[in-house]
């Protein structure tokens, strides 16, 4: 459960203050599949960094599963990310020269999980993300863009987080591969009940979610469900 209220984020470059987020507030319940949509430069990534405990807001409050994250230290935030959040980024997702399996288990390395347990869970996660077992020992630079994102999804899943954040996960993929990756998110949401927040500037991508939050110039301008529409689209 995510509750944010009156979130603002001000960047200071030299003498100039720039408000990237202005009074943003919403609630996302467990198991929702939400898209945050807006044009480039509207503050989506900034919002995602705050939601993902990578950064703290300049003002406002953020409760994740009832815990206030607005005033935690770097290491405390790292612990939250380790326990509760999985990330999929647009690019540079994987460690180079490292096997798929090792990449997928990286969060477990920092979560002090034993070697046997890690291996088991990384395989399960890769399987959930739809990656062939034949690729497990490939180096990450031998994979296609779609495969890379699936390894990234597996890595986001591996520590069994309650929240998965994906920032433009299809930005570097062709439409067909992008569809497969988005399908994976949908499946994880429906079958495993994961809360998923998908950040994108493309309407077609956002429409895979059940709910779309529009932001523009750092403000939420629209917030509505898409559920009905998706069911209609499928039929």
């Amino acid at each position: 459960m995510i509750e944010i209220k009156n979130i603002t984020k001000t960047y200071r470059t030299g003498d100039v203050d720039f408000q990237a987020l202005k009074n943003v507030g919403f609630t996302i319940k467990d198991g929702e599949f939400v898209a945050i949509m807006g044009p480039s430069g509207s503050g989506k990534s900034t919002l995602m960094h705050i939601l993902g405990a990578l950064d703290t807001a300049t003002s406002g409050t953020y409760f994740l599963d009832g815990r206030d994250l607005s005033k935690l230290s770097d290491d405390e935030l790292a612990e939250i990310r380790c326990d509760k959040i999985g990330f999929v980024f647009q690019s540079f997702n994987l460690l180079p020269r490292t096997t798929v399996l090792r990449n997928a288990m990286l969060p477990l390395v920092y979560a002090q999980v034993s070697h046997e347990e890690r291996d088991k869970r990384a395989r399960e996660a890769l399987f959930s993300a739809g990656l062939d077992e034949g690729h497990f020992y490939h180096k990450s630079n031998q994979l296609s863009g779609g495969q890379i994102q699936r390894v990234a999804i597996a890595r986001a899943l591996v520590n069994n987080p309650s929240l998965i954040l994906a920032d433009e996960p299809t930005g570097n993929l062709d439409t067909k591969t992008g569809e497969i990756v988005l399908g994976t998110f949908q499946r994880l949401n429906e079958e495993q009940g994961k809360t998923i927040i998908l950040i994108t500037h493309e309407r077609e991508v956002a429409e895979h979610a059940d709910r779309i939050i529009f932001i523009r110039d750092g403000e939420v301008v629209e917030d509505h469900g898409q559920h009905a529409k998706r069911i209609i689209n499928r039929k």
Binding site: H49, G52, L54, D55, D74, D75, A78, E79, R81, C82, D83, G86, F87, F89, F92, N93, L95, P96, R97, T98, L106, P107, V109, Y110, A111, Q112, H115, R155, N159
Partner: protein, 403 residues
Amino acid sequence: MKYRDILEETSSALLANKVRSGLTMLGIIIGIGSVIAMLAIGQGAKQNIQGSIEGLGSNLLTIMPGVIQAGRGIVSSGRGSAETLKNEDLPVIEKVEGVAIVSPELSRRFQVVADTGNNTNTTIMGAEVKYAEVHNLILANGNFFSAEQVRGLGRQAILGATVASDLFGEIDPIGRKVRINGSVFRVIGVLQAKGGFGFSGPDDMVIIPLPTMQKVVSGLDNFSSVSVSVVDKEAMAQVQTQITDDLMIKHRVKEADFSIISQQDILDTMSTVINTFTMFLASIAGISLVVGGIGIMNMMLTTVTERTREIGLRKAIGAKRRDISLQFLIEAIALTFIGGAIGIFLGWLVSFLVTYFGVLQTSVSWYSILLAFGVSALIGIIFGYYPARRASAMNPIDALRYE
């Protein structure tokens, strides 16, 4: 993060850039290698000199006429000018408690001509029978002269190993004749070679009976030195003071007109000189270690910048500051440690070769190996600390945005 994981990360990071890791390590390898080699060579030189000095008799006091003053050498000594050690001093010295043997000696350099026609300039040592015992001399061949021969102004000579080979080469010198300052001597013995380190030892001398030296060869009746062997090595200092006091009374002087040097004094002086020299060489080598350390720091800073996105990613998925800083610190320490190990091997190899080719008997001490390991780990920590801190302090967002 577990230690096994850190080691896995470290080895994959170092192997990913083998050439760079190798070149960076080279600085440490050369630094540690030269420190080890320098210490081993210094240690070897010290043991060598200690050995040759101790070989001359470690419980030995040498009384010499004249005063040795720091920076001025022997004052009021020299030929004829300080004839302060005479026959009547010997009973005084012999009476001192703790004195075992007193050996009066008179030495001068003379030209020696052998019956082979060869000649050499060497020290002629006039001595009594006990000379051999006091100075731990061993005969390779023949006999030492007897007390009768000494008393009877005998013309017998014992050759040092170098002199023997200079004068007679491969020929057996026993029974042959040598001429010293106009007198003919029969060679009755040859000393075993002692070796030595630029130190005029018994190899380069001819020993003849003391009265013959005084009355026939040199025409002097004083001694150039009196060697005293002491019963108990621990009592050296005490015996030294006692002899000084007694001789001053005997000579009726307020300031000693003679000097007493113990082998320990020579040993100490030599050791100090060599230690200083070794430390000097080792610190020059140490400077190359610091340069090597700076190389490590340079490489680590480059690595941290290159891997900014990787660091951002690791932090995003839950790495704490400690995990990141430890990863980079261990990487630096691994570089210096491996470099240190190779350097120790190389330094050992150098000192082994020095020994093998007979230049000097060197010895690599455990102490220097431990020191080298400690220093290389320390260099890793010192020069790896700043880059590691820089990595761990990175903001994950800035790191992820970094192109």
